[in-house]
């Protein structure tokens, strides 16, 4: 039967079905003519219609109940899955059951793991299959190979892997009862296997003793690589649930995994740390009951302490100096904050080998310990959401975690403080439904406003108070609330100076932070001074502060850049970049470094280099934060600016608009970042002659900026400058002049007279004069511009355009020779560096034609006219 046929049958059926029996037959005969099959079909339907249909009438409830019994996996007797015949049950784990099997075609024994409760929709089964193929590439003696995989008809995934015998790592170790040296040697073998997988870009994500088998000869075999990734639902980030985490054993899960954040090779390193700790001490670093979320306990006891207490005979196995190193190593692998942890398994291996060979470690004892864990309360369903939100606010926006220092006195004080912090954090979330966690609409700023007042209540512990203030101040700054950030940062700095002395690393960090605030406020002298002070403290400090030192260099670079000292900024930033991890290990700091460097290159006019660095930063941010993050938006802005200056307006508008969407969504509508985005879009809208639209955006931006900054500000200046340009285009010369002059005032007040932006302002005023035919005024202003631009960035587009304009003002005064001296070099530059349809290039050709007319060199004049005619509009 086909569609048409069915239509016909239906029609007849519908007509006949309600007729009384006696009339039905004749009606049918009439409608069907002599189409016998049609008649039969309809009659069949009519017959069924009369019957009661248990399934179709009653619905599926009963049937559903019957089939939906996902009870215990049916016992398998002599089963066959593809070419594998199941022999016996090997074991049952949290994830599924493992059977011993053999291949019926070519023989040989394998292990088959069936993952129950891991139902994949039909669409995902396909993806699953493909991803397993990448795992099959792992070919290492210590890694259990995956030979095959698939899914049963009901969706249960299965894997076929190399059959490995042995005990789980920790059990083996307990039984062996070997020396600490032996322990480390086995541990290294495990790490090497993990490192191998990492070098193939596969992260295990679920390392635990049951996944690491050791046989009698001491050979190690790692199981289940990468499986956790396939099975976690993609949405576990957005609504994390405990069941989503069921696949992981919580004890070995890194803090960032629990919080649903980005996972990397460092996540496996954390698990390795837990394993090492457990092997050494026989205990887990955090006391966990199954089913609870672990709290990172700030008093995680050092392995040396535990070992010596529990097994005094081991004291002889390790020398006193080595105990310290052992602790450092173990604790560093367990660092809750990713930046302080061993970044790779390889780094961990190196230090273990160093320890075994009696050499010094690369790691230094952690000076500050951090924990985010204290902010999680026990036994609350909304727990993981809470943690996730806090990490998002605290960890993602500002790249910090809240720092707590270790208790100095008795455990009593520790407990009291713990309570205070818990209360503090809970009070942050008051107002949200505690069961479900704060609603996502609760803006970060509102949360912080509450937190700000709570911080005062921590007066009895000045060090912690300072830490809180510093963190909150940073967050406020990043969110654009500079006025609120200032008192917090100042207070934090003062407190720390008082408590820790001027040469302490934390004081240095506070100086840098305050310096950056000053930069945003436009007080550049003070900014540079503060940042330099902080930087030199950190430079001379211990190696543990290397990250902070690199950050201070980047801060200095950004201040210098703002001051227009581009060469110096470039050097500083390049120095910083050498300290940063790159490629796969690159962090947010690396990206920020690259972005700053890219900015400097941009202002120097080195667009290619700028683009390259921006793109590298973009890739890092995208990997770390996804595509909806303001850091990504910033890079998009940068790329947009590059395209604008190259004259590719369509491309740049695309970048800017995308950036604006991200920024507005993240920061809200009255944030300086949003304003900056608006300005950028407006700028290049005006290049495209869409002035009305540009005006609207700019005025919006101006309102925001004035509101945020108050007083004199460089950002307001930029916006005024843009408005000036629009007014100029609309021939509102007086308004334009006023805007430009205001812009210059702001810039002069905040950046100093020698700054290239002052040059731009002069250039713009010059343009107004030019159009008003006041050529002397124009020349005067352009000369000011040229003088400054040549000094700071001789070969940049801005300098060239200034020369071009100066040339035009001279041309209008009929000083042709002088004009040629300005316009010709400008033209030569433009022809090499801008798009063929660039307005300035056209202008230069036009001017040269006029100049040579004036100089009576008609050939040359004609040459440029011809070029002008031939160029695209």
């Amino acid at each position: 039967m086909d569609e048409a046929r069915w239509q016909a049958v239906q029609e007849i059926f519908s007509s006949a079905v309600d007729l009384p029996m006696e009339e039905q037959s004749s009606a049918l005969l009439a409608m069907c003519w002599d189409d016998q099959t049609l008649l039969t079909d309809v009659m069949e339907l009519l017959q069924e219609d009369r019957r009661s249909q248990p399934l179709l009438d009653a619905g599926l409830d009963q049937a559903a109940r019957a089939v939906l019994d996902f009870g215990p996996l049916p016992s398998l007797i002599t089963k066959q899955i593809g070419p594998y015949r199941l022999l016996r049950l090997l074991g049952e784990g949290g994830m599924g059951v493992v059977y011993l099997a053999e291949r019926t075609d070519i023989g040989g024994q394998v292990a088959i793991k069936l993952l129950r409760d891991a139902w994949l929709s039909p669409m995902r089964r396909q993806r699953f299959r493909i991803e397993q193929l990448t795992l099959a590439q792992l070919n290492h003696p210590s890694i259990s190979r995956i030979y095959n995989s698939g899914a049963l008809e009901d969706g249960t995934p299965w894997f076929v892997m190399e059959y490995a015998e042995g005990l789980p790592l920790t059990e083996y170790w307990k039984k062996q009862n070997g020396t600490i040296r032996d322990c480390l040697e086995i541990f290294v073998r495990v790490c090497e296997a993990v490192q191998y997988a990492h070098s193939h870009a596969i992260i295990h994500r679920d390392l635990k003793p049951s996944n690491i088998l050791v046989n009698e000869s001491g050979d190690v075999k790692l199981l289940d690589f990468g499986i956790a990734k396939q099975l976690s639902t993609d949405d576990s980030k957005d609504h994390p649930t405990i069941t989503g985490l069921r696949l992981m054993t919580l004890a070995y899960a890194a803090p960032e995994q629990l919080a649903g954040g980005a996972v990397g090779v460092y996540t496996d390193v954390y698990a390795l740390g837990v394993l090492l700790y457990e092997m050494l001490t026989g205990r887990l670093p955090h006391r966990i009951q199954e089913g609870e979320i672990p709290e990172a306990d700030p008093v995680t006891e050092k392995p040396s302490v535990l070992i010596r207490r529990a097994a005094p005979e081991r004291r002889a196995q390790v020398s006193r100096a080595e105990w310290g190193d052992l602790d450092t190593l173990a604790m560093k692998a367990l660092e809750p904050e990713v930046g302080s942890r061993y970044a790779t398994a390889d780094a961990l291996i190196r230090d273990v080998n160093a320890l075994l060979e009696g050499r010094p470690l690369e790691a230094r004892p952690a000076k500050w310990s951090y924990t985010v864990g204290k902010f999680m309360r026990r036994n609350r369903r909304g727990l993981v959401v809470l943690a996730a939100t806090l990490v998002v606010i605290v960890g993602t926006i500002v790249f910090y975690t809240v720092r707590l220092t270790k208790a100095r006195n008795a455990a009593l004080r520790e407990a009291a403080r713990t309570l205070r912090i818990q209360q503090f954090t809970e009070s942050l979330f008051d107002g949200g439904d505690k069961e479900a966690g704060p609603t996502l609409e609760l803006r970060a700023v509102e949360l912080l406003d509450r937190g700000r007042h709570e911080v005062e209540g921590l007066g009895s512990d000045p060090e912690m108070k300072a830490d809180m203030q510093a963190t909150l101040g940073d967050i406020y700054q990043k969110l654009g609330k500079l006025d609120r950030a200032e008192p917090l940062l100042i207070s934090a700095l003062q407190e720390r100076r008082q408590m820790l002395g001027s040469s302490d690393g934390k004081v240095a960090e506070s100086e840098v932070a305050l310096g950056l605030l000053r930069k945003e406020q436009g007080h550049l002298d003070e900014a540079e001074r503060l940042v330099r002070e902080g930087m030199s403290t950190l430079r001379d400090g211990p190696a543990a502060s290397r990250v902070a030192y690199a950050r201070s260099l980047v801060a200095l670079g950004s201040v210098l850049e703002m001051r227009g000292k581009y060469e110096e900024a470039k050097l500083v930033l390049e120095t910083a970049l050498k300290l940063q991890p790159r490629s796969r290990e690159a962090t947010a700091d690396t990206a920020e470094n690259l972005a700053e460097l890219a900015n400097v290159q941009f202002y120097k006019g080195a667009y290619e280099l700028s683009e390259t660095d921006n793109r590298e930063a973009f890739d890092i941010y995208r990997r770390l934060y996804g595509e909806e993050h303001p850091a990504v938006a910033q890079i998009l802005n940068n790329l947009g600016a590059i395209e604008t200056n190259r004259g590719n307006y369509v491309a740049s508008e695309g970048y800017y608009r995308h950036a604006l969407t991200i920024t507005e969504a993240w920061y809200g509508a009255d944030h300086p970042e949003t304003a900056a985005n608006l300005t950028a879009i407006a700028q290049q809208l005006s290049y495209e002659k869409r002035d009305a639209e540009a005006m609207v955006l700019l005025q919006r931006a101006l309102v925001i900026q004035k509101h945020v900054n108050g007083g004199m500000s460089a950002t307001v200046a930029s916006t005024l400058n843009q408005l000036g340009l629009l007014a100029y285009n609309a021939k509102q010369y007086d308004a334009a002049r006023s805007y430009f002059t205001q812009a210059m005032d702001h810039w002069r007040a905040t950046l100093g007279d020698q700054h290239p932006f002052i040059a731009i302002a002069y250039s713009n005023i010059g343009s107004v004069c030019l159009d008003q035919k006041d050529y002397v005024c124009a020349e005067r202003n352009y000369r000011e511009a040229v003088r400054r631009l040549d000094a700071s960035s001789k070969d940049s587009l801005n300098a060239v355009i200034a020369h071009l304009k100066l040339g035009r003002s001279l041309l209008r005064q009929n000083r042709f020779k002088d004009a040629e001296g300005e316009t010709l070099p400008a033209y030569q530059y433009l022809v090499k560096h801008v798009a063929a349809d660039n307005g300035f290039l056209r202008a230069s050709r036009k001017d040269l034609a006029a100049i040579y007319d004036g100089l009576h060199r008609s050939d040359q004049a004609a040459h440029y006219r011809a070029e002008l005619r031939a160029s695209p509009i």
């Binding site: 049937a63 019957a66 019994d69 215990p72 899955i81 593809g82 139902w119 009901d154």
Partner: protein
């Protein structure tokens, strides 16, 4: 998360709902034998769970139930296959000898569902709209007025098309079950 348009988005939503339904079904039934769980309640629970997730946020409740109906169908079919006592040559089936299966018609119910499923496939080939109708009604618990809105036809059309679809499916199911008496049949006049 940005959801892509068209096919991709539907696949994402479907996968999401499918897995949620499966989770719910397993979770609830594990605890209670003979619980008051039906496809409709499962779909409702899935809606409560997923309503605020970004993939689903743009979808109206009605359309959600449409997707859920499709997903529910798949869940039941998969479950039925799992339970099916038929030994098949492909070698991929798990054979069950589990004695603790509830209900007396342990063998027939999976078969009924599978037969319905394949009959529905057949129906969709000759009338996509009717197949949607049946799917929505059966697996999503949509009533006549809701179906009318969803399919953009009148309620009278829904009623009419249900009737003929029912008859057609009955014919198909009877055929595929090979005339075996799955459930009691009563002829009424």
């Amino acid at each position: 998360m940005i959801s892509a348009e068209g096919r991709d988005s539907f696949d994402e939503q479907f996968s999401l709902v499918y897995e949620e339904l499966r989770r719910l079904a397993a979770g609830v039934l594990r605890g209670e034998q003979n619980g008051r769980v039906t496809p409709t309640t499962l779909v409702h629970e899935a809606w409560l769970k997923l309503a605020h997730s970004p993939e689903i946020a743009e979808t109206s409740p009605l359309h959600f139930r449409r997707i859920a109906a499709r997903a529910m169908r798949q869940v039941l079919v998969d479950a039925a296959r799992r339970r099916n006592a038929t030994r098949r040559g492909s070698g991929e089936m798990l054979v069950t000898f589990d004695e603790s299966v509830p209900g007396m018609n342990a063998i027939s119910e999976p078969r009924d569902i599978l037969a319905l499923d394949s009959a529905l496939d057949g129906l969709s080939r000759i009338s996509a709209r009717q197949a949607k109708l049946v799917e929505g009604r059966f697996f999503g618990g949509l009533d006549v007025s809701e179906l009318a809105v969803l399919l953009e036809v009148s309620e009278a059309t829904v009623a009419r098309e249900w009737r003929s679809a029912r008859a057609w499916l009955a014919v198909e199911i009877r055929r595929s079950l090979g005339g075996e008496p799955g459930m009691a049949e009563v002829e009424t006049h």
